[in-house]
Amino acid sequence: MPIEQETRLVAGETAENAAEAATEAAPQSRHITSPSLKGNPDELRDLEAGLDKLQSDAHRKARIDWTRIILPIAALLVLILAWQFYVSLGFKRRDQVPGPLDVLGQFGALWAEGKAQEAVWTSLQRGVIGFLISVAVATPLGLLLAQVQPLRRAFGPLISGLQVLPSVAWVPAAIIWFGLSDGTVYFVVLMGAIPSIINGLISGVDQIPPQYRSVGKVLGASRIQMALQIVLPAALPGYLGGLKQGWAFSWRSLMAAEIIAVGGTIGFGLGSLLDQGRTLSDMATVMSAILAILFVGILIELLVFAPIERRLLLRRGLLAGSTR
């Protein structure tokens, strides 16, 4: 290997380094290539390090983006002002269309009575528990359906159909089966949330680039490993979409159940408050309940789902250029 030795010495390597590298390369010496870089691991390493620096993005530090906070608040203020403006025009009687201040006052009164807290707490608790049970049931079912073709073909249309069926339709049946109890509420919530979580997971799995499965197969993944280590994480963005929708369905179904099924051992939730406002023809209470339902929904989205989703997409490099 005279040529290699020479280039080493010209490059100003220490004799020790050269000797070391030479013994390394010696056993397979029949493959000597163009003289440019050959057999000089340090030079190659430096070159690569330089190229890596040039080609990969410098890390940008994230800072707090105030527009993210200011803009939604501004939008809310505009809507409230528009509402107040409409009320002050006086087209309708005040007890039919209360203004923002009337509603705020009524909500304050409900809060002082302890009714508002009770309603929010009862509903939130049921919504969260029902949602968690749905996740626990729907995730294995969804994975099974997505991974096993005959099951998918057999039950796929049914699951899609169940998602279209309004879960309110289950309320009468649930009342007959479970009476006016928490069982009714949970049954309706599960029937609303489970199909949409399953569908979200399935569509997430359908959107996995086929190459990931090939890689998994080449790497020697078993069926279970493929499902848990490759398919599930790869489908996570779609699955999360399904979870968001599942939560929305839980919350909506819960309200429907609470409005229709009142009395018995069923506790006092936001839907019950809404129904009470209706029977008393108390529009301010009705509006308070509607806004409370809306705000709980927004809070869950902002505090739970948005950060998880943002983090998930950011880590996969999927947020660049989005308007989020």
Binding site: A25, H31, S34, L51, S56, G220, Q225, A234, L236, G317
Partner: protein, 245 residues
Amino acid sequence: MPVVLEHLGKRFGDGAPVLDDVNATIEQGEFVALLGASGCGKSTLLNILAGLDQPTSGALEVPSDGAAFMFQDSALFPWLTARGNIELALKLADKSGRTSKASRAARAGELLDLVHLGGAGDKRPHELSGGMRQRVALARALAQDRQLLLMDEPFAALDAITRDLLHDELERIWKETGRTIVFVTHNVREAVRLGQRVLLLSSRPGRVVAEWNVTEEHRTDAGRAGELTGTITRRLREEIRRHAN
């Protein structure tokens, strides 16, 4: 253990055969470049060697533990870091569950060092350049610890500077690890640069129609290397021209 292909054929459905009567023997530790124009079934052949696809005729002899595979795009999992990708490969390769998490982490560190990415282990694939991603993919393929390494145009999508560098890198790693490498490419210069032997695959159906040895002389003498590149290019073009009518 050598890789032997005997009268290997493959057709999809009732279509024309993609591969027809492919014969080749690849010795252990050999670096073979598989060259051909587009549509010659190179990727199909690799998939068959990897066990992702089955031949419709002929016999195939590959190491019983299968083959490691490197794809044209890195196909790294975006939800894992560079290190996580390698650790997952180690975990999936370990059928008996004997290795501990710590030993897998250590091995992943060694493999990252081997591809000169010791400092980038905690980066995610989208934070890496194309060349770095391919090196992580190479480390992941090596993590499988299989004698046979199949590479499907792994550097085709890279810029020229990076590709040249990765050629040196791959050659170094091949020497250090003594793997048998089957490297698919449609770039004649790349085939001559890397392979000890270049196999030319005809198109539609794919068949090994010519074969050249790349000797030490070609490595050291740019003139000889250019000559060989010219010869192979002419033969390749002849093969492509056959389809003109």
